[in-house]
């Protein structure tokens, strides 16, 4: 993934959230062999932007070697929700959705 694609994703995703009214965003990064500080920042930004647009974001599929490298690099994803797999990510998103509905009633 080059820098421009990462930036484009940020724009496309926020536009799509607005258009569809999506309440959840699931990003599978299992195909990324590395996440450097630039891509890490993009992921954090996407998560924060989605949150502001009232959509929860879950990042799934981070490879173990990428997790080790990220922490040594100094990126902890403290404000980013993560899950190991797409299935678990979906569980988080639908769980959040359900509990919020209950809260609204």
């Amino acid at each position: 993934m080059d820098d421009r694609i990462a930036l484009q994703l940020q724009e496309d995703l926020t536009a799509l959230i607005e258009k569809t009214g999506a309440r959840g965003v699931l990003i599978d990064i299992s195909s990324l062999e590395i996440v450097d500080s630039f891509i890490g920042r993009m992921i954090g930004n996407i998560s924060a932007m989605s949150q502001i647009l009232n959509a929860n974001t879950v990042i799934v599929g981070i490879q173990p070697s990428v997790a080790i490298t990220l922490v040594e690099l100094g990126i902890t994803f403290a404000d980013v929700r993560t899950a190991l797999t797409v299935e678990r990510g979906m569980e988080i998103l639908t769980g959040v959705e359900d509990s919020e509905k209950v809260g609204d009633e």
Binding site: M1, D2, I34, S37, F38, R41, L73
Partner: protein, 130 residues
């Protein structure tokens, strides 16, 4: 193997990552070590492209005391870094980044040498031993 790759565009950074990954794999570095050196290279390459006005990457397998390692040299002929001590500090940034590029890259390798001269450019040499 001794190669020099241009670092001018985003696309060059991607190609440089692939080249570094191939050599790291060829050397037999573990997946974690491969990921570390490629990530460090990506940080340094981005610095060269964004702050150095473009540069180049040299990748080589080196031997010392019977150990083998992957050595990367990223150099640019940009404005140089005014205060190296400051640039190596976590959280310090000259722009819009997170300020973890250089200190983060240093943590991902076994050896890290940086030289910079104002108006002349910056060269960073990093090595990850097997």
């Amino acid at each position: 193997m001794n190669d020099s790759l241009p670092l001018v565009s985003d696309r060059d950074i991607v190609l440089a990552r692939q080249e570094t990954r191939n050599l790291a794999r060829q050397l037999g570095l573990s997946i974690v070590d491969q990921t570390k050196i490629v990530t460090a290279m990506s940080e340094l390459a981005r610095n060269a492209v964004v702050h150095g006005g473009g540069g180049s990457l040299r990748c080589e397998i080196v031997t010392s005391d019977g150990k083998q390692g992957l050595r990367l040299t990223v150099s640019d002929e940009g404005p140089g870094i005014a205060d190296l001590n400051l640039a190596m500090k976590d959280g310090w940034t000259s722009g819009s980044g997170l300020g973890i590029g250089l200190p983060g890259a240093r943590r991902l390798v076994n050896e890290f040498h940086i030289t910079s001269e104002r108006g002349r450019g910056t060269t960073v040499v990093v090595t990850r031993w097997k």
